[in-house]
């Protein structure tokens, strides 16, 4: 065959593949492209075919996060997420029967040590020393049976990338992208860790998350201020807690409660899976049924989450820190699928979406008083009523106060003057284009589908969202601004440089 013929064949094949995709009235009509299954045990599976390259993105989301922890045990959901990488009864061990004996001892001694440590100054020093020594010896003995980081080894060796997990206030997520012929490996590992996780190396991992807290919260002024902001904005609701946990809780997190949390919430009927990429949905669902189908479902705990009482007056908080000033302002509001939440998505875009947004143009370009200004709708989560938040950094020598006043001026403007039709239309155009752009990545799609299925109860929220947005009028925006952007509904957190 000549080179030209080769190319011709290639283009015909390409055309056929592409036609297959575009032939469906709207290739970007998400709802029609997603295949949806619910296994008998309640596990929800969403699948979407994309055939550019032989790769697949896999997301697992459990509807459990930091909000579901009991008081005094903050950080458990996150530490559990770390522990899930330690293996199972059949992955990561040389002989589980032998290892188990030592693990039981480690748990017993570890608990005894924590019970003594928690006494603080009145702790029995001798006992502490003895127990620490005992724990160290046991950990050394345990190592003999451990094959460390087997899950990581298996995934990377098979070409996995972006192997990671994240814990939020609402959800806990595990994801990886693999060559598309390796779905069975993922199903084997993930279903096993939903049934038989083994919390080996628990106490050294507890040290790791404490380092994580020092690195990502204590040493980052924006994160430290955020922590204090949320703890002020929410008086009672668990959205006030940091996901990593409070330092004094983290030091005493234990295997028993971590296990209880796992048993309560990592149920198949509390889990959503999304599979996006070069797959055959029929073959994929067979594999998923084979591995995940045997996990027994169970009744979820009737958890009681403290409601946030209505705010009655402004809250202000100050963080002294060796860094340049910054400010966060937040207003309480309802979460999805309340109509007002959609309006806030539009307000978000009007205020800070791009270089033409109101806050950027005024504060950064015209007045030149801010280095950055951003807004976000739905802080810090979406399962419960949340906040609309504004984040800004003043530009030296300008102050938090100047930036704060300028922000209020813009919010007042929203209450006073109707937004122009063109400004709303711009926002709608952008939201429409975002939907199309989001279709261009397997992992992005898998993430969004599973997120909205888990949080909103239906991935179709994504496509319905734009239909609701289309209906929003300038009057809706004014009404919403008037209803929520009020001083008595406001929390303000400022970072002020600690004088040396």
């Amino acid at each position: 065959m000549t080179a030209i013929n080769n190319k011709l064949v290639f283009f015909i094949v390409l055309a056929l593949i592409l036609f297959g995709l575009t032939a469906r009235a709207n290739s970007y009509d998400l709802e029609k492209r997603v295949r949806e299954f619910t296994l008998e045990n309640g596990l929800k599976v969403l699948m979407l075919e994309r055939h550019l390259a032989p790769t697949v993105s896999l997301y697992i989301r459990h509807r459990a996060g930091a909000v579901d922890e009991i008081s005094g045990r903050t950080g458990t959901a996150h530490l559990l997420e770390h522990m899930m990488f330690k293996g199972t009864k059949t992955i990561g061990t040389r002989n589980f029967k032998e290892e188990k004996k030592i693990l039981d001892e480690i748990r017993r001694v570890g608990n005894a040590l924590d019970m003594e440590r928690v006494k603080g100054d009145t702790a029995d020093k001798e006992k502490l020393k003895r127990l620490s020594q005992q724990l160290k010896t046991l950990q050394k003995m345990g190592k003999k049976w451990v094959v460390g980081n087997e899950i990581g080894r298996l995934y990377t060796e098979n070409g996995g990338i972006n192997l990671n997990a994240s814990t939020g206030r609402d959800l806990t997520t595990y994801h990886v992208s693999l060559p598309s012929n390796k779905i069975e490996l993922w199903a084997r590992i993930e279903s096993d860790r939903m049934i038989n996780p083994v919390f080996r190396e628990f106490y050294s991992e507890r040290e790791v998350v404490m380092e994580e807290r020092k690195q990502t919260t204590e040493s980052v002024p924006a994160r430290k201020l955020m922590e204090q902001f949320l703890a002020s904005a929410f008086t009672a609701h668990p959205y006030r807690r940091p996901v990593l946990g409070w330092a004094s809780d983290m030091r005493f997190l234990n295997i028993d409660y971590t296990g209880e949390f796992f048993n309560a919430y990592y149920a198949p009927n509390n889990t959503v899976i999304a599979v996006v990429g070069d797959i055959s949905p029929d073959a994929a669902i067979d594999i998923i049924k084979k591995y995940f189908g045997k996990i027994p479902g169970h009744k979820l705990p009737a958890s009681h989450i403290t409601e946030e009482p209505k705010q009655k007056g402004e809250k202000r908080t100050e963080l002294l820190y060796d860094a340049n000033p910054r400010i966060i302002i937040g207003y309480h509001k309802p979460t999805l699928p309340s109509f007002d939440d959609y309006v806030f998505d539009v307000i978000d875009s009007i205020l800070s979406g791009g270089r033409t947004s109101r806050l950027f143009r005024t504060l950064v370009e015209e007045k030149g008083i801010a280095e950055s200004v951003n807004t976000a709708n739905g802080i810090p989560g979406a399962r419960f009523p949340n906040l609309f938040a504004i984040f800004a950094t003043p530009r030296y020598p300008h102050t938090n106060k100047e930036v704060e006043d300028a922000i209020y001026e813009e919010l007042e403007k929203l209450k006073r003057e109707l937004v122009s039709e063109r400004e709303i239309e711009k926002t709608k155009n952008q939201l429409r284009a975002d939907i199309i752009r989001d279709l261009n990545s397997n992992s992005g799609l898998a993430s969004r589908l599973s997120y909205f299925e888990a949080v909103a109860g239906d991935f179709r929220y994504i496509t319905r969202h734009i239909k609701v947005i289309e209906k929003i009028t300038p009057e809706d925006i004014m009404r919403t601004a008037k209803k929520y952007f009020n001083q008595d509904n406001r929390t303000v957190a400022v970072l002020k440089r600690k004088s040396q």
């Binding site: 592409l18 080894r153 990338i161 096993d192 040493s219 711009k426 261009n440």
Partner: protein
């Protein structure tokens, strides 16, 4: 006889049945024993087209969604910054984007672009500049009008320049707020000391930048022969060529881009400290290493994977994080570039374990120099690198830009098609050899940012 045989069969059956009953409901397969269908995949190739004025295009059609993306790469960079004008290249990129063109002001551009949800970015980094356009197909012409004018006829409005300088200065003031930012910035200054790559903007140098400087940078580097463009998405090949010709065909400026010397490996290492009152120390240990064209690129890629970039199982992460719980972020990185490569091992650990972690990482590196790696580690690393290679072809944008970058970096055309074989051929001896050659401890550039070892200084 018959009877006995019957009995044996019976016993067998009973035994077998009982064994079957007692066993777990289907034992789990060992994950290493799962068999997979072979993958066959021929990635699409972008077509290379050269315009009469010398501009090189890479075109790849992708009609899945109605979007067209254009990525241009320009041979320029902060390495060309004149003495005492550090920051000029970055600011030039910023103000090309924001400062308007002959036909439109910057604000008019923003209004038009954001109304039809298009996006344009221009940025100039250390060794190259990039300009990108992303638009819905229906707005392609409007997008190209603006994009081409930004590349060819930017006017660098004084007010927008002032804003860009102010923002850059504020960002520099804020570097000190975060220990990791301080660490990676200062590491760059140290590892490239004596080379333009080690010159970083300061509040002072940004202050000195004037509009004429920007005009000069644009005049010097933005000409057809110094720029390549990847056009990807919902557009046919012919349409792409004719549109690019329509906008850039009459652009006939000539120029010549000088060569900047590459950084050289240090003859003598040093340990540097920066004081910052934070609860952890950031530790970086760096070396200059093989460039991408060097045959040692392949063994060094495998070495880096085993040392600290191969996830939890790689040695540094396994030891420092997993076994000892001394860090959340730790590992290594290696980037083979044109003319040189850069390697770093790093960890962020609580103040009291600074010395321990530093010496631990040094000993992990030395261990590979002295004893090499095991066959099973080598096989794991090679399999991992080769199996994940498919993700280099995960999107059409990536495929086209990648092909363009191979030409930009003057790599052999078969770089991608031979990559896996070359990784596959790496031996344990190669790894020991490159570790000895490129990672001698007495030539390491070491930086510690934190409370430990209170030898203040450095940041200006």
């Amino acid at each position: 006889m018959k009877r006995i045989r019957f009995l044996i069969t019976l016993i067998f059956l009973i035994l077998f049945a009982s064994v079957a009953c007692a066993a777990e409901p289907s034992p789990l397969i060992n994950p290493d024993d799962i068999r997979y269908q072979p993958l066959t995949f021929t990635p699409p190739k972008a077509e290379r087209v050269v315009l009469e004025n010398g501009m090189i295009l890479y075109i790849l059609e992708d009609h899945e969604i109605p979007i067209v993306n254009i990525s241009a790469i320009i041979r320029t960079g902060s390495i060309y910054n004149p003495e005492e004008k550090e920051g000029l290249a970055e600011i030039t990129g910023d103000v090309m984007r924001t400062g308007g063109t002959k036909n439109m002001t910057g604000d008019e551009i923003d209004d038009a672009l954001e109304y039809f949800a298009g996006a344009i970015d221009v940025s100039i980094g250390m060794e190259s500049g990039s300009a990108t356009l992303s638009v819905l197909k229906e707005n392609l012409d409007e997008g190209l009008d603006i994009f081409s004018a930004i590349i060819m006829n930017p006017v660098f409005d004084e007010n927008k320049l002032k804003t860009a300088k102010n923002l850059k200065i504020e960002a520099l003031r804020r570097v000190l707020d975060e220990p990791q930012k301080v660490a990676f910035r200062e590491f760059r200054r140290l590892i490239y000391a004596g080379n333009p790559r080690g010159k970083l903007p300061s509040i002072d140098s940004v202050g000195k930048i004037a509009r004429d400087d920007l005009v000069r940078v644009h005049g010097k580097f933005f000409y057809p022969g110094n720029l390549m463009m990847a056009v990807v998405g919902d557009i046919t090949r012919d349409e792409a060529v004719s549109k690019i010709k329509r906008y850039w065909g009459a652009w006939n400026r000539k120029g010549e881009t000088a060569k900047i010397p590459y950084p050289k490996a240090k003859q003598k290492g040093a340990t540097n400290y920066i004081f910052k009152d934070v609860p952890q120390s950031t530790i970086i240990i760096g070396h200059l290493t093989p460039e991408k064209k060097n045959p040692d690129f392949y063994p060094f890629t495998v070495l880096d994977f085993i040392l600290g970039s191969g996830g939890f199982r790689s040695r540094i992460i396994h030891e420092v994080r997993n076994n000892l719980g001394l860090a959340y972020s730790t590992g290594s990185f290696y980037s083979g570039r044109s003319g040189y490569g850069i390697f770093g091992a790093y960890a962020i650990t609580k103040t009291s374990s600074t010395a321990k972690v530093l010496s631990l990482i040094m000993s992990i590196i030395n261990d590979v120099r002295n004893k090499g790696v095991t066959e099973s580690e080598l096989s794991w690393a090679k399999k991992s690198i080769n199996n994940r290679f498919i993700f280099a072809f995960d999107s059409t944008d990536q495929i086209a830009v990648q092909q363009m970058m191979i030409e930009y970096n003057k790599l052999p055309e078969n770089f991608l098609t031979t990559y896996r074989t070359k990784i596959g051929n790496v031996t344990a001896e190669d790894l020991k050899r490159v570790a000895e050659k490129y990672l001698p401890p007495n030539r390491a550039t070491i930086l510690v940012v934190g409370k430990e070892n209170l030898q203040l200084k450095i940041f200006d």
